[in-house]
């Protein structure tokens, strides 16, 4: 395994699980979840500062030693997303950005047009763009062609926990990609994370499924192993699916009774 690390934007990661921080009920739980998850990168949002409670989130992330991945959550236009990315660069001193440009409040699904526009601007401005996208293989290819460092198709809507609704599209995206593919949204449980890797994804990004689980730290550990399991299984080369049985015990040499 050591020789097959994940490389995004020129940087190497040992872990293939990326943790989103949204939804954690306390910083203590978040910190323990980060450790349990083994994640080496975690997202952070940019919001108006609250003088009464600032600072410690960054402290937690620094102590965990993870790379910050600011996001543009909540942006509906390329212009807002670009502005948010620029401010994130100022605030967190990183060129990395998880680009989200959504088209709808109810589904939080990406808007292809604004997303492509923002991606182009940000790549031109030197950002390392990890683009949250829907599961459209053609759109994913366009994002890659524009210079995104990773394409991050959804499995299902953000926070829905509905898993991977169209595994075929995710597999097609992974087959065609020359940059890392990160499954980003919809993971509900460990088997979803494993499946994402088996379909060909290079990593999994998830937040709600850990932070809002009944036991977030336990779920963080579950997700870590789920991602590892799926990654190993893909490399191990699974058996084909059959309609009927295929005996695992040979019938040769079976005893015969009178």
């Amino acid at each position: 395994m050591d020789d097959e690390k994940l490389v995004i934007g020129g940087e190497t990661f040992g872990a293939r699980l990326i943790l989103g921080t949204g939804g954690a009920t306390s910083l203590e739980v978040l910190e323990a979840s980060l450790v349990a998850s083994g994640a080496e990168m975690a997202t952070v949002a940019l919001r108006r500062i609250d003088p009464t409670s600032q600072g410690s989130l960054l402290g937690v992330l620094r102590r965990a030693g993870v790379r910050l991945l600011p996001n543009t959550a909540g942006c509906f236009t390329a212009r807002d997303a670009v502005l948010t990315a620029q401010l994130a660069r100022e605030a967190f001193e990183t060129d990395w950005i998880k680009l989200e440009v959504i088209g709808d409040d109810k589904t939080l699904l990406p808007d292809a047009v604004e997303l492509l526009d923002a991606a182009e601007q940000l790549v031109d401005a030197g950002f390392v763009v990890l683009a949250y996208t829907n599961d459209d293989p053609i759109l994913a290819r366009r994002l890659q062609t524009l210079g995104c460092a990773a394409v991050m198709p959804l499995g299902s809507p953000i926070g829905s926990g509905a898993g991977i609704r169209n595994p075929y599209n995710v597999a097609i995206i992974a087959e065609q990609a020359s940059v890392p593919v990160v499954l980003d949204a919809g993971i509900g449980t460990a088997s979803d994370a494993a499946l994402a890797m088996e379909l060909g994804c290079d990593a999994v990004l998830l937040a709600t499924s850990v932070t809002r689980a009944r036991e977030p730290v336990l779920m963080a550990e579950a997700m870590r192993r789920g991602v590892e399991a799926g990654w190993l299984a893909r490399r191990a080369g699974r058996i084909p699916r059959r309609r009927y049985a295929e005996a695992s015990t040979p019938s040769e040499g079976i005893a015969e009774w009178g």
Binding site: G20, L30, R48, I49, L57, L87, R89, A91, F92, A207
Partner: protein, 66 residues
Amino acid sequence: MKVVVNGEARALHDASTVAELASALDAGPSGVAVAVNDEVIARSAWTTTALHEGDRVEVLGAMQGG
């Protein structure tokens, strides 16, 4: 003078700078970014950027998300 900081009206003494506002808001040495009238103000320019009557200022920091 009056400016709007993070959506709320705020009275500042004349000739206030971004740096002074940030300090008043307890913004730490890192992890905070400022935009004035939709323009990003680099931290290096905070002390030299004066605010003006009616400016819309966004002072943003890290929050859990994503």
